[in-house]
Amino acid sequence: MAIVATTPSIEILPKQANPLWQFVKSQPLGVAGFLIILVYVVCALGARWIAPYDPEAIDFGAMLARPGEAHYFGTDQYGRDVFSRIVYGARTALAVGILSALFGCTIGALVGAASGYFGGRIDNAIQRVVDVLLSFPIIVLAMVVVAVLGKRSAFGVDWNLIAAIALPMIPKMARVARSSTLSIVAMPFIDAARAAGFSHTRIILRHIVPNIVAPYLIMVTAFMAQAILLEASLSFLGLGVTEPTPAWGLMLSGTSADFYQSAPWMILFPGMAITLAVFAFNLFGDSLRDWLDPKLKS
């Protein structure tokens, strides 16, 4: 009996809805984007089981085969299965996209937080560098880095390519992180932390960084879309991933242009893979922004 009597008093408290469920209910498009991303992730992780052929296997008996039972998306001029190459290409796209967005945004967030926290001359110096870096179009900066650094592969990923894509994102993230930091530094709890004698590092990492997680997450998803696009563009130009590694941009590059009429599927499917991936990340990113930052909702 006692248990029954206490139950109503708990009911009075406003019911805390599950934040995940809230997101699902308020952002159906974001969920759609997330599901598409999930499909890509599954393709990347399970490529070995999903892809019916070895993506690098050359089969001169099946050159430029039409899409059909044997090859869902047809084959290219070397008889390689386009579908398998797209499935494996998800690995390259996601690895480069996710890693470069994470690196670029994390460094940018720390630089921006430090800039906003210290203020004065340090802030001024950092902001001038950011200004200068922002006056280069993203792809230009990335191409310079590729030209100077060359290639360096480890664990199947070209780390210099990741650096090239991450670098242009640093100043953009730093800008955003700095402006969020400025409003946080004015809060009393930062004064309290200073008065308690905490080190600068501790204040930045423990008190400021957790408070700029929302803009960080928004930027990371937005940059993943851009990074995938940038990797595809660089690979297309022959400055990114190199043959025979399957990558969407690379599949569209070079010789494939000779096959417009004889094998249009070589052009259609890889481009669709890029577009859908960028679309999904954009969709998810937009919803995340609307959800995390109601002020931006229009």
């Binding site: 191409m143 310079v144 650094l149 297309f236 400055l239 249009p264 960028v278």
Partner: protein, 317 residues
């Protein structure tokens, strides 16, 4: 307004100087060595001796401060050095390729504005109807489609429908406008689509915001014709953010051009940059990056000035 222009112009100088310094350091100080990358590009085994000789030939063995002062003195004379590949001056290499890229960039911007303003307006006016939804889907997909792939789709379409390919080779628009346009229109459309998409989104949300303003309600309460309200009050104010987008998106326009020129085999700035990068011609890279960044800074300056001219609140603050 004059003071505003002068103030903005003065602010450009330190940024340009910073860009010049940044380009120098990006190429010479980053871990990595242009010469090694260039000579050992295909895994070729090149002796230390050859690398040292090449470095000497390019003047990369001199102390950094000497290189820096040479570079700065050259810049002061607007001299970007010589291309390592062709031996021609970088200025000349860039100058012969500017017209075609410039023309495509301008055409892409015009296409973008012509598409964005009516579509954005219609989308805002018929908010949450099927017209609005389809415009928005079109706009969101514009952000996702890589411009070079769109270019390939256009070529594919031209081939399938008309069995016709745009000619290779650029003729000045003053010599033969039709031949010129039949080459340049396709890359302009592929690059302009993204531009149009961003501007449409901006136009829609700006117009929706303006329509909520008090002065619009007052005008409607007075019984002013809806068409007149749109023309006199709403569209004028909504155009401001669209102008900004055009400046911000210029970077993407350049990026799109770099890749799309490759698809249509157009010998412009973008193709030159790609060639320079694959050949490790760092003098040319340096010159091109400086050139592109300078263009970018000036376009943003012009947009800022345009913005101030359109909106008195900005130049007076």
């Amino acid at each position: 307004m004059l003071w505003y222009v002068i103030r903005r112009l003065l602010l450009v100088i330190p940024t340009l100087a910073g860009v010049a310094v940044a380009v120098f350091f990006l190429i010479r100080v980053m871990p990595g060595d242009v010469v090694v990358v260039k000579l050992r590009a295909d895994g070729a085994d090149v002796s230390e001796e050859t690398i040292r000789a090449e470095r000497k030939r390019l003047g990369l063995d001199k102390p950094l401060y000497v290189q820096f002062s040479d570079y700065m003195v050259g810049l002061a004379h607007l001299d970007l050095g010589k291309s390592l590949w062709t031996g021609d001056s970088v200025n000349k290499e860039i100058a012969i390729r500017v017209p075609v890229s410039f023309q495509i960039a301008v055409m892409a911007s015009i296409i973008a504005v012509l598409i964005a303003i009516p579509l954005g307006t219609v989308s805002a006016l018929y908010r949450d109807t099927w017209i609005d939804h389809s415009v928005r889907v079109l706009a969101v997909s514009g952000l996702a489609i890589p411009s070079f792939w769109l270019g390939m789709l256009i070529i594919l379409m031209l081939l399938m429908m008309f069995n016709w390919l745009p000619k290779i080779g650029y003729v000045s628009i003053f010599e033969d406008p039709i031949a010129n346009l039949s080459v340049t229109i396709w890359p302009a459309v592929s690059v302009g689509y993204r531009y149009a998409a961003v501007a449409t989104r901006m136009m829609r949300s700006a117009l929706l915001e303006v329509m909520r303003e008090d002065y619009i309600r007052t005008a409607r309460a007075k019984g002013v014709w809806m068409r007149l309200i749109m023309r006199r009050h709403a569209l004028r104010n909504a155009l401001l953010p669209v102008v900004t987008v055009i400046g911000l998106e210029f970077a993407f326009l350049i990026g799109g051009l770099v890749v799309t020129e490759q698809v249509f085999n157009i010998n412009g700035i973008g193709k030159l940059f790609v060639d320079a990068t694959t050949r490790g011609d760092f003098n040319l890279i340096q010159g091109l990056v400086l050139f592109i960044a300078t263009m970018f800074i000036f376009v943003n300056l012009i947009v800022d000035l345009l913005y101030a001219w359109l909106d008195p609140r900005i130049r007076l603050s």
